[in-house]
């Protein structure tokens, strides 16, 4: 059995989500290779070759892949897919964008967001916003899969010694063009890989009050998140959103502040190791998933908490 994992990267660094996808690939057994499709992405290929347990890194370095447009990269994956039994990617915005397109080119189904590998063709995945876990079986000869990164412990980024093979195949579908990217700049860790996350909800009342979370986030080296209600109310941008329709996180510590705990939010954070909820409504559903609940006015509790840690 041979599995190709599509690397998550920005042409200069290999993103941690790749390590979770490699873990899922190793759970399936057999040989694991990594595809780095980008432009001037040699450093990423070098990093991918260090990943523990990887046999080969295929590096497709061409301007056509610079922004990893789905129209182009899916053609490359479909071509390389001929030599593999499984094609895997992390369930990131990129993975979700590219993989179904590659699956359809190969005339196979896709299994999205797997939580576990139950057998060579059997997997668990969440449906209905995580309210139900389905066990599904693929009948396809080739499996295209996206991996929920929080469900697989990352493999070591070091210790491997894969060979790097250049791939000269160039696919430019000619129907799409990158214009620009606006990526929020922050000194804080990334939401999906932070070990501590502190999130605010509608109870924060406005965007300015999110500054109350910043001091605590600084002290704990935490990422700041938000509920969909806070995003919908315009307090913070959408990339803060934790939930079924936003980011799925599973840090060591998740602090939910002024968040009631709608199903859609719980779906994005309930796999966190320790959950703290601070809310003045003692009946808020968030307390049902919290390890430690504090019924308090957040405007009093947050400054106290910042002072106490």
């Amino acid at each position: 059995m041979k599995t190709l994992v599509i690397a998550e990267h920005d042409n200069s660094t290999l993103k941690a989500a790749t390590l979770n996808a490699v873990a899922a690939a190793q759970a399936m057994g057999g040989e694991v290779d990594i595809l780095v499709a980008g432009a001037n992405c040699g450093a990423v290929a070098d990093a991918a070759a260090q990943v523990s347990g990887v046999t080969k890194v295929v590096c497709a370095d061409n301007p056509a892949y610079e922004h990893q447009l789905a129209e182009n990269v899916s053609l490359l994956i479909a071509e390389l897919g001929a030599g593999y039994d499984n094609l895997l990617a992390a369930s990131t915005a990129n993975g979700k964008n590219i993989m179904p397109r590659a699956a359809a080119l190969l005339d196979v189904g896709q299994i999205s967001d797997i939580l576990s590998v139950e057998g060579a063709d059997t997997f668990k995945r969440p449906i209905y916003a995580g309210n139900v876990i389905a066990t599904v079986q693929s009948a396809d000869p080739k499996k295209v899969i996206t991996v929920r990164t929080t469900a697989f412990d990352a493999v070591a980024a070091e210790g491997g010694s894969a060979t790097i093979e250049a791939c000269a195949s160039v696919h430019d579908a000619g129907v799409s063009r990158f214009i620009r990217e606006e990526v929020a700049q922050s000194d804080r860790p990334e939401l999906t890989s932070a070990s501590v996350v502190i999130s605010g909800g509608r109870g924060m009342q406005n965007g300015d009050n999110f500054s109350l979370l910043e001091g605590i986030a600084d002290k704990l080296n935490a990422a700041i998140g938000a509920s969909r209600a806070a995003v919908d109310a315009g307090f913070v941008p959408n990339d803060y959103q934790v939930g079924q329709t936003g980011k799925i996180v599973a840090p060591d510590l998740y602090i939910a502040v002024g968040i009631s705990g709608a199903i859609q939010h719980l779906a994005g954070m309930k796999d966190s190791k320790v959950i703290v909820a601070i809310n003045k409504d003692e009946d808020a559903p968030i307390f049902q998933v919290a390890d430690y609940g504090l019924v308090a006015d957040l405007f009093e509790a947050l400054p106290e908490l910042e002072a106490a840690i």
Binding site: K96, A104, V108, Q110, S112, Y128, G130, T135, N238, V289
Partner: protein, 250 residues
């Protein structure tokens, strides 16, 4: 410009869906059904493009059992001009739906296809991208803003950590994210008018598509429950617990 909007009939988003006790499937007896929220955003976007004079005709298409005509009528009440129902029994998979939509596209030749990024039942997030592969069209997935000018479309996409803007040649496929727009409610007069709008029905044979199964559901189960936690008295006790019991802060 002609726009095709795909809509799916799903369980209403307010319903908390549970697995049946025997684990055979989810329990959907007597639950309220509705148009998938992301599809509703797709319909709204098409209607706004029509109001702006960019789009001249909106076709709402749904793939599924005869009951999904209800959701096509909802789309017609929201402003779509006519409907197409592709009648398929059971739960067709994303790849089959994409093949059927491609069949409709070949008949209708739309300039723009707008659909939801995912349906809130299967949470697959696949059909739009698969339709892109099958038709060769560009895909603007997870769109939060679109602009059409000079035979091309600019799409602002929600990506990890920010926003990405891409330009696609038309015809193209757009899949909607939450912030694209806020859908309107259908007015009673429009609901009445929608009943008289044309609605055609096709079978997969009409579209020369074989509906096949690639993935079968073996069983379903509720997610693992978290053990009940405790309520702390104050911030001092919380910090003490986090330091000395959970050991997640130092």
């Amino acid at each position: 410009m002609k726009a095709l909007v795909a809509v799916k009939r799903v369980v209403d988003y307010n319903v908390k869906v549970r697995a049946k006790a025997d684990g055979s499937d989810v329990d959907l007896n007597n639950v309220k059904m509705a148009i998938n929220p992301f599809c509703e955003i797709a319909v709204e976007e098409a209607v706004r493009l029509k109001e702006a004079g960019t789009v001249s005709e909106i076709i709402a298409v749904s793939v599924g059992e005869s009951s999904c005509q209800e959701q096509i009528r909802t789309a017609l009440a929201l402003g779509a001009d006519r409907g197409i129902h592709v009648e398929v029994e059971g739960k067709p998979e994303p790849l089959s739906i994409a093949k059927l939509l491609k069949g409709v596209i070949e008949k209708e030749s739309p300039d723009l296809v707008i659909m939801g990024k995912q349906s809130i039942d299967g949470d697959n997030n696949q059909t739009g991208q698969m339709l892109g592969a099958l038709t060769g069209m560009g895909q603007g997935t997870f769109a939060s803003e679109i602009k059409i000018a000079d035979g091309a479309i600019e799409v602002i996409r929600e990506v990890d950590g920010g926003l990405q803007t891409v330009a696609l040649t038309l015809p193209a496929i757009i899949t909607t994210d939450l912030r694209l727009n806020e859908p309107r409610y259908a007015s009673l007069p429009n609901i009445m008018k929608a009943k008289k709008k044309p609605l055609d029905t096709y079978t997969p044979e009409d579209l020369s598509v074989a509906v096949t199964s690639h993935v079968t559901q073996v069983s379903v189960a509720p997610p693992p429950e978290r053990a009940a936690g405790i309520k702390v008295e104050d911030v001092a006790q919380l910090v003490d617990k986090l330091k000395n019991e959970a050991k997640v802060i130092s």
